[in-house]
Symmetry: C2
Subunit: 215 residues, 2 copies
């Protein structure tokens, strides 16, 4: 058990394990071994054991892991035992699509507000979420206890939006603008850059003929 420095690769895998444990639970399984888990998504069983060992000794030798017990631990570790309140900046197509993305609600994330500069959008209600003026972000964030911000604005505005968001005390930000952002210490930024992903597919398509069998 060393809480020191956990790699993000590890925490990402914890999410995957958690998902799998929920499935196993639904199937009525009581226990599961790291080998069985490793089979499901093809992964190395030692890695699973190591990942889990970062946070305690959850397993029982000769038996494996108790599914429900481990599920509860992972939920706690990932902070999914408490709710998170999300504010989305940018009420364009992407922002509004995310606002009712079922993946949010699925994992204790509630989208509680949208923000935009467009007068035509401010004051509207999209799904069951109100659109506020971005200039009121700090105020609304405080009142609505927002703890996660999602940036869904064009790239050229992303950095200044991030500054504003950071100033309001938000510590976790998800960015969809295809641009690298500078972030202050103590703030966690996660950028989902679709452009890079697309270009990676493009690269593959124009090299698959030569190299082939590539994964």
């Amino acid at each position: 058990m060393k809480v020191e420095k956990i790699s993000e690769l590890t925490t990402n895998r914890l999410s995957v394990y958690l998902r799998c444990l929920n499935e196993l639970l639904a199937e009525g399984k009581r226990t599961v071994s790291s080998d069985k888990l490793a089979e499901r998504f093809h992964l190395n069983s030692a890695q699973i054991r190591k990942d889990l060992a970062c946070f305690g000794e959850f397993g029982v030798r000769g038996v494996g892991y108790y599914v429900e017990d481990l599920r509860d631990h992972l939920q706690k570790i990932l902070g999914l035992d408490k709710n998170h309140r999300v504010g989305i900046i940018g009420a364009g197509r992407l922002g509004t699509a995310l606002a009712d993305y079922y993946g949010f609600t699925q994992t204790n994330f509630d989208v509680v507000a949208l923000f935009d500069n467009d007068k035509g959008k401010i004051g509207q209600r999209i799904g069951d979420v109100d659109v506020f003026a971005f200039k009121n972000f700090a105020k609304v964030a405080k009142k609505d206890k927002i703890d996660v911000a999602v940036i869904a604005v064009p790239a050229q505005f992303a950095q200044s939006v991030l500054e504003e968001v950071t100033k309001s005390g938000i510590k976790a930000v998800m960015n969809f603008a295809p641009t690298p952002l500078r972030v202050h210490d103590g703030v966690k930024l996660k950028t989902i850059d679709l452009t890079i992903s697309l270009e990676s597919l493009s690269y593959f398509l124009s090299h698959v003929n030569n190299i082939n069998g590539n994964n």
Copy 2:
């Protein structure tokens, strides 16, 4: 110059370099050194040189790289000199949002068709894209020369959609369903799992107090 096995980490960075070179070009810069590039997004200059060296000797010792020249090379390497035609499966909020995501058009990706099983959506026109019945995917894909598929359906349908898409000969797939998918050899799958990203933020939020300064 070794075209053997290029890491995806490398190709992802090529995308970033390309973006930067376009900016430099817009600023009227003629040449740029790996040091200067490394400064812009904070990265190691040796890494940039190594990445580029995978594909040829584009630089000039004592000078650096010619911006326009390198830009053209990277565009070619990433396969962005030709257009790609995208079909999106799932005409829900996310699918339709992606349909007019400007990031697509920005990088030679044209969304040419949406697919769904919902009778109410089939035949509609969203933006300037038609919605087709998914059962006609192979036919439409062939006729419209689709070479990239985007999966934007609920997780439980994602695998079977992928099978169908693969059967039609598509070699590049982007998946937004929060579930790991099994893919055939020779098909490139890129999964954007928002759930994992969110849970990673959640993890950070519940550990930042203890660990702090974490990035």
